[in-house]
């Protein structure tokens, strides 16, 4: 398998508290991985650590063969990683179009697959709202905008935190469809969400975090057949 992201023995700290305990995880090119676990188990911290936003980290993180553990967030972003943060990170004072065009950048191999036109094709709703300010969008529109903005950087790997949290079921369905499109483009994804049933239908692999460590790493079907793990670590 063509490894894109390789993390081994990753520890992360917020001050004195240790959040991640020796996390090992690998993601192949084009692979879609679900990251699940109860609240406070380190999912967001792991994504943030990958993006270079947790200053105090130990262990090894390599992305496309480069060591990125000590790199600045902007360097990591330019290497081909994109983060869709929890709670939608739009720029409220910019319009929808400005939010998208500002992020436009060729990918690590120079490709420009994702353009403004393609994002508007993927999310027609954003096209209708293109001149609206970021602060005038609904939650679903903001999530589309954040995903669209991440795609505009033509990334190799997208990290999506709480993909459908707080979204109406119909909007959530659009987001799941979008994840399918992203996968079809050969972009690798790590997606965090509470809706394990929906995730299990689309992802290649599931990683279960508990207390900052990996409890399970395998195919969705293998986890579904272990109800005791699901019961204990997800409460489903």
């Amino acid at each position: 398998m063509n490894v894109l992201l390789e993390v081994s023995g990753l520890d992360a700290f917020y001050g004195a508290s240790r959040i991640l305990h020796g996390v090992d995880i690998a993601v192949a090119r084009g692979e879609q991985v679900a990251l699940i676990g109860r609240n406070g188990m380190g999912k967001t911290t792991l994504l943030r650590a990958l993006m270079g936003l947790v200053p105090d980290c130990r262990g090894e993180v390599s992305f496309a063969g480069r060591d990125i553990r000590r790199a600045a967030p902007e360097t990591i972003a330019r290497a081909g990683l994109a983060l869709v943060p929890e709670g939608r990170g739009i720029f409220a004072s910019l319009s929808v179009t400005e939010n998208l065009t500002m992020a436009a950048r060729p990918g690590s191999d120079g490709r420009r697959t994702w353009t403004l036109a393609r994002i508007f094709e993927l999310f027609p709703r954003l096209h209708q709202r293109r001149n609206n300010g970021g602060h005038q969008l609904s939650g679903g529109e903001q999530q589309m905008l954040t995903i669209g903005r991440a795609l505009m950087t033509n990334p190799d790997l997208i990290l999506i935190d709480e993909a459908t949290e707080g979204l109406a079921p119909l909007v959530a369905r659009d987001i799941w469809t979008t994840l399918g499109v992203i996968r079809g483009e050969g972009i690798a994804t790590i997606v965090v969400d509470k809706d394990f049933r929906s995730l299990a239908k689309i992802v290649d692999r599931v990683v279960l975090l508990a207390k900052g460590a990996v409890m399970f790493d395998g195919a969705p079907g293998d986890l579904t057949s272990r109800p005791e793990l699901l019961e204990r670590h997800l409460g489903v």
Partner: protein
């Protein structure tokens, strides 16, 4: 109600016709207000658009004045073409150096560090013998543009001075508008809205802010050059924090989210001072109360009145203008 695009043209026509309708005193007065407006717009590139609350822009303003004073040859006029770029470059360079250090801090610390650097510049000219020390110095002859002894432009003429300042004011507005609508401007706004988010998108926030800060300092320098040329005098007070704070008030009165808001703020504040000085000895007190009233009733600046006056559906005026705050979530 006139169409929105007509408003700037009408204002420009009024500004251009003004010298033929009022006395020389008011031509100079408006010129001074335009210069302060230029300084306020420069400061707002850092404060409103970049989220960098700087209390040292008077230092960039005053430094350019000192450069003109030091480059002026005794009782002969200096060459505008030579001294203006040097003065602006000096201010831009000092802004680059101060910014490079100050931008390593955030929030209240950034304010304190810029204040400290501004005061260092003040004392550099106040406590040494450079250009008259605490007394300041005169620029005896105003700069001119001359080719082979033929004067093409002489700033000693109040009318010529007014039009040069008006032209530079328009140039500043155009430059800032183009800059803020460019990808660079969007990245600057994004970094202000949320620094970590902008960095996770791959923007080198430090470099972007530093560039904006240096440009802002250079424009402040152009304003300072003409302030010095207008009255032919430069003193350390031009570099002090008091002026920096006054300009910040102009920015707040005018509104943080637009290019021309601070210009309006400067005109309002300077006009207000002029009226109050003529009517009461306690003009500072009255001025303070009025500023408080304006800020309380129009938190987005006097530009909030635009839709009421011109009937236009403003975009910049209605966008939320929060005081730049450091957001810690991604």
């Amino acid at each position: 109600m006139m169409p929105r695009w007509l408003v700037p043209l009408v204002l420009l026509a009024i500004a251009a016709a003004l010298p033929f309708g009022v006395s020389t005193y008011y031509v100079q007065f408006i010129g001074k207000a335009f210069i302060m407006g230029m300084l306020a717009m420069a400061l707002n590139l850092a404060v409103g658009h970049g989220g960098m609350v700087s209390i040292c822009h008077a230092a960039f303003f005053g430094l350019a004045g000192y450069v003109l004073a030091l480059m002026s040859p005794g009782y002969d006029p200096a060459s505008l073409v030579l001294t203006l770029p040097v003065a602006a470059a000096a201010s831009g360079f000092v802004a680059l150096v101060i910014g490079a250090l100050a931008l390593r801090t955030r929030g209240a610390y950034f304010i304190m560090v810029t204040l400290a650097f501004g005061e260092m510049m003040f004392f550099l000219f106040h406590d040494t013998d450079i250009a008259g020390g605490s007394d300041g110095t005169y620029v005896n002859a105003k700069p001119e543009i001359a080719i082979a002894g033929h004067r093409l432009l002489d700033l000693a003429s109040p009318l010529a001075f007014y039009y040069v300042v008006l032209a530079l004011l328009i140039a500043t507005i155009v430059l800032l508008t183009v800059l803020l609508r460019s990808p660079f401007g969007h990245a600057l706004a994004a970094a202000r809205d949320n620094e970590r988010r902008a960095r996770s998108l791959g923007f080198p926030v430090y470099r972007i802010r530093l560039t904006a800060f240096a440009i802002s300092g250079a424009i402040a320098g152009v304003a300072g050059y003409f302030a010095t040329a207008q009255f032919g005098f430069v003193a350390p007070e031009m570099l002090g924090w008091h002026l920096s704070a006054t300009v910040l008030v102009m920015v707040l009165i005018g509104g943080l989210r637009s290019v021309t808001g601070p210009l309006v703020g400067a005109l309002v504040l300077i006009g207000l001072e002029e009226v109050l000085k003529a009517s009461t000895d306690y003009w500072k007190l009255a001025e303070g109360l009025i500023v408080i009233l304006i800020v309380l009733s129009m938190p987005n600046g006097v530009r909030q009145l635009w839709p009421l006056i011109f009937g236009a559906t403003g975009d910049a005026a209605t966008r939320p203008a929060r005081v730049p705050a450091e957001a810690n979530h991604v």
